[in-house]
């Protein structure tokens, strides 16, 4: 299969088509729209034998794929930001009903104030519901991770929805070299979806039943247990993917020059590319810096992270989100991993690129400089906040 220059969202649409979903339902929203539009074109042109269901909202889209999956079909949807918020109730139901729907989230900021640009607050805000979350650095990973997603989701040891995250605009709207997963290899890799239970008028059953307190905790715990078990399945499927397709797009982490690093940065998504350029520049000057890039965010790969981080002297977490009124999202989770292992490595968290704020190599370099000095910075800092824009905060 040859590499070609493709727009990220278009590449994802074609990669998804090769996974042969049987039902696709989606509602347009910037910046995922090209994924859904291209899929609808692929179906309309007869290149994919699927039902493309036009819906009135993302709540409708998620509900349609839930119903389709419950009826035994491989189902797919894509959304961003406000759309993901509208899907929230259904995502909880997908996980609770143990339905292996795959969806893409073209990460975009969440209103208010209104923004169409990329940050991770949308996906992070639904991190607790049991949907598996993986993050792509580039368009190639975004394509490959969809193949991995279907296989992980449908594995009988998992049976959970999987969300592939790709940065809105920064990945969806960029033209770059991509090799689409070969159709024959993908067919062999995924096989057909065989549902564990399905809605069938000849063999009726109910999904997502009303469950009283004496049983509900166990019903919920099974979601948590499956999510934890998926850590092993993700590693297994990723290794199989690498063997079949020759690309290391899966796995929980990428350790970029971090094995002997004193200062380690942690990030997820496309900003990792800029960080790698800065790491290289520092290494050329003899400074021991590295990047640990998170690919699996939910479930949180604690063991892999601990192994990757335990030798660091300072850690800087670069996030594109946060929890208002608390601090970061990844930052406290990383601290917890270290704390439980008895390690008091200083961890500083930085919020960058909220609402799509441009950050380039110089901003990353400043963060590296400050973290490497060793003193712990603020627990979570909104990086380069423009004080001059702020009004009286108490009117």
């Amino acid at each position: 299969m040859a590499r070609e220059i493709l727009e990220g969202a278009m590449a994802v649409a074609h990669a998804v088509a090769r996974c042969r979903p049987e039902v696709v339902a989606a509602y347009p929203i910037t910046p995922q729209t090209h994924i859904s539009e291209e899929l609808s074109t692929i179906v309309a042109d007869g290149e994919l034998a699927a039902e493309f269901v036009k819906v009135e909202s993302e709540f409708g889209a998620a509900s349609v794929v839930l119903g389709a999956s419950a009826a035994g079909a491989r189902a797919y949807t894509a959304t961003s930001s406000q759309g993901l918020m509208l899907m929230a109730e259904v995502l909880w139901n997908l996980a609770g009903m143990r339905l292996p729907v795959v969806l893409a989230c073209a990460n975009r900021s969440v209103s208010a104030p209104l923004s169409i640009w990329c940050d991770h607050q949308d996906a992070e805000s639904i991190r607790d519901c049991g949907v598996i979350q993986i993050y792509a650095e580039d368009a190639q990973e975004a394509c490959d991770q969809h193949v991995i997603a279907f296989k992980v989701a449908e594995d009988r040891r998992v049976l959970l929805p999987v969300m592939v995250n790709l940065d809105g605009f920064l990945l969806t709207h960029v033209f770059e070299p991509v090799e689409l997963p070969d159709q024959a290899l993908t067919d062999k890799f995924l096989g057909k979806y065989e549902a564990l239970y399905k809605l069938d008028v000849d063999n009726p059953m109910s999904f997502g039943c009303f469950t009283e307190p004496d049983k509900c905790m166990e019903g919920r715990w099974m979601i948590h247990d499956a999510a934890l078990r998926s850590l092993g399945v993700i590693e297994e499927v990723s290794a199989a993917f690498a063997k079949t397709f020759g690309r290391a797009s899966g796995g929980h982490l990428e350790e970029y020059k971090s094995k002997d690093a004193e200062t380690i940065l942690i990030a997820k998504g496309s900003i990792s590319g800029t960080i790698k350029d800065v790491v290289d520049a520092w290494r050329e000057k003899g400074r021991k810096v590295g990047l640990v890039r998170l690919k699996t965010f939910r479930p949180f790969p604690r063991a892999a992270l601990l192994a990757a981080l335990k030798g660091a002297k300072q850690i800087g977490v670069i996030e594109k989100g946060g929890s208002f009124g608390a601090g970061g999202i990844m930052t406290p989770e990383i601290k917890e991993v270290l704390y439980d292992a008895g390690l008091r490595i200083p961890v500083s968290g930085f919020c960058v690129q909220l609402g799509g704020r441009e950050i380039a190599a110089d901003g990353i370099a400043e963060i590296v400089e400050r973290v490497s000095k060793g003193e712990r910075q603020k627990a979570y800092e909104y990086f380069r906040l423009k004080q001059s824009l702020l009004p009286d905060l108490v009117p």
Binding site: A112, P113, S388, L389, L390, P391, D392, L393, V394, P395
Partner: protein
């Protein structure tokens, strides 16, 4: 402590006052501009109504005369607001008497 809104700062809740579009002048985007010839214009106001920016208006201080049904009629001239006209040419396209030309904007 004030809740007065300022153009230079954000506000609590990022509220905004109306009229912001009056400050952001889009006329600089223009590469063509309308020329109202006032030769055949009969004051039908199609240009005013079709302008998507609302920047064609009547200029009653200046008039022109046309012949209509054997009688002379005085018609107020048309003008356009150069701060906002983007040169889309819809006024010229819709003028039923071809009284408007679009010419390149040359500074």
């Amino acid at each position: 402590m004030s809740s007065k809104l300022s153009m230079d700062k954000l506000s609590i809740g990022c509220v905004a006052l109306p009229g912001g579009s009056l400050v952001y002048k889009t006329g600089a985007w223009r590469t063509m501009r309308p020329v109202f010839k006032h030769a055949t214009c009969n004051g039908c106001r199609a240009c005013e109504m079709v302008c998507p920016e609302g920047c064609v208006f009547e200029n009653p201080a200046e008039k022109h005369t046309i012949e209509q049904g054997g009688k002379k009629r005085e018609i107020a001239n048309r003008d356009y607001d150069p701060d906002f006209c983007k040169g889309c040419g819809m006024c010229a396209a819709e003028c039923p008497v071809d009284d408007i030309d679009m010419v390149p904007e040359v500074k």
